[in-house]
């Protein structure tokens, strides 16, 4: 006697037929462009309705950006902000990566620094602005310090995770081959950590843009963050928007370049298997 679990009725209910999906790439491009276009349109319409200087539309923003470019103001601001980010970033990586590696490798070092990492994770770079100004003055160094602070955290955290990601059997295999501690470290641990180091660097760069804006909001003569705040104070909303647009584009560009560069130079370290 065959075993039954459910009634005929249930079985006869039709199942859902899934339609065949259209080619994904096409769809993504179309949908993405469509929604961007829709957004820009809505933005323009909304700004025309509001009709105050406080809500510029896309056209006004682009116009302001072009003017700024022609005046040379925009390029100057971009370069200054980029310089601050660049120097702070390199310094942060130069300190953060070795420290992270050391922390991953030697437990005492990790225990020593860990409470501070967990603690200052919640303290943004900008909270250090006052002390930074006291130590480094209101010049470039204090802002570069904030970028350094932002970078070093993310790089440290990710590097530490990377070191612990080395698989036990990878280490054991190296031991079977007679590798000594130094060889194991350089030829197994370091390469295995690379993807995480790169991720940390990428995240740090993204966050550095935020930090530089923060620093420039308070005490600055030039820079993208300064441009945004200065425009706001003069109620030049279109210049402010132009500054924000530039900031976003800069971030996207930097991220893209970083990824392209990593793929070019460090492709093998990006493989995960």
């Amino acid at each position: 006697m065959p075993q039954r679990f459910v009634s005929e009725q249930v079985l006869s209910r039709p199942a859902v037929v899934m339609p065949r999906p259209i080619s994904p790439r096409w769809c993504a491009l179309a949908a993405g462009s469509a929604s961007i276009a829709a957004f820009v349109l809505l933005w323009q319409l909304a700004s025309m309705r509001e009709a105050t200087i406080l809500f510029p539309g896309p056209l006004a923003t682009i116009h302001a950006a072009v003017v700024l470019l022609r005046e040379g103001v925009l390029s100057q601001d971009v370069l200054i902000s980029l310089m601050r980010i660049g120097v702070g970033f390199i310094a942060g990586v130069a300190v953060g990566v070795p420290l992270g590696l050391a922390m991953g490798a030697f437990r005492p070092i990790r225990i020593f620094f860990e409470p501070y990492i967990q603690f200052f994770r919640f303290v943004p770079a900008i909270a250090w602005l006052i002390p930074a100004i006291l130590w480094f003055g209101i010049g470039e160094l204090s802002k570069i310090f904030l970028i350094f602070y932002t970078t070093i955290f993310l790089v440290l955290l990710n590097t530490m995770i990377g070191v612990s990601s080395v698989r036990r059997n990878q280490m054991r295999a190296a031991q079977c081959f007679g590798a000594n501690a130094w060889q194991r470290y350089v030829w197994v641990v370091l390469p295995a950590t690379m993807p995480y180091v790169l991720t940390g660097m990428r995240l740090a760069m993204g966050n550095s843009f935020a930090a530089v804006v923060g620093a420039e909001l308070i005490a600055s003569e030039r820079g993208i963050g300064f441009l945004i705040v200065d425009s706001w104070m003069w109620l030049a909303a279109d210049r402010m928007f132009a500054g924000m647009l530039t900031l976003g584009l800069l971030g996207v560009l930097a991220d893209y370049l970083f990824q392209a560069l990593s793929r070019l130079c460090a492709r093998r370290y990006l493989m995960r298997g």
Binding site: P2, F5, V6, V17
Partner: protein, 265 residues
Amino acid sequence: MSTGGVAAAMSWRNADFQFAPGTPLILKNFSLEIRPGEFFLLLGPSGCGKTTVMNIQAGFEQVVRGEVLADARAVRGPGRDRAVVFQDSDSLYSWLTALENVEFPLRVAGIAKRERREQAHKALRMVGLETHEHKYPSELSGGMKQRTQLARALVLDSPILLMDEPFAALDAQTRTILQDDLVRISMRTKRTILFITHDIAEAITLADRIGVMTAGPESAIKEIFEVTLPRPRRRGSPAFGELYDRIQAILADEVQRALRREDSL
């Protein structure tokens, strides 16, 4: 081998399949008739596309040419008439206990709680897992997870059961036990089973008929063997060994042909 009211046939007629236009054909001119109520084993070397056959029969993929039928109706998507047991137990829901996992299809079908529970209990008892029904998948061994999958696949009484190398990831002892259990269950529930494997011994133990596939790409059925050994089948018996050798010869031949084809490219 009776044709009970619940079992259904599966048919393939001159089917071609490729993943995307321009890519090589995985299956070419694939034809196969599976009789209602039979236990059919699809055997083939690695990479020959046997999992693809199952995915198509289940409705997860579609053929680009030809016909695939289940119970004389064209297969156009997944459905309750074709239950699936996957190779990996990752299809079990990690936030549900074994019992709740088996209840899940009934819940989707809108069955009331009390009846759901009862039916799920029955299914778990049938696969011998009733003492573990309140455990989560992460607390179950590989064999127990596959039993849970089987119970879940049985609970809707689907006329067709599709199994994709469900015992491949298990140790040999567990595999043997589960194979015997599966034979016992199949004799009680009388549904059509399509079982994929690369293990010849497993095929002979379970099957009413075995279809050997050619090596990929452009695979099709090379030869079909009727297995007339009486059940329960003894793996050490001479008849078993003789059938094993015959199938092994065909399979090895296919693997060789594939290697030669690769060399000549």
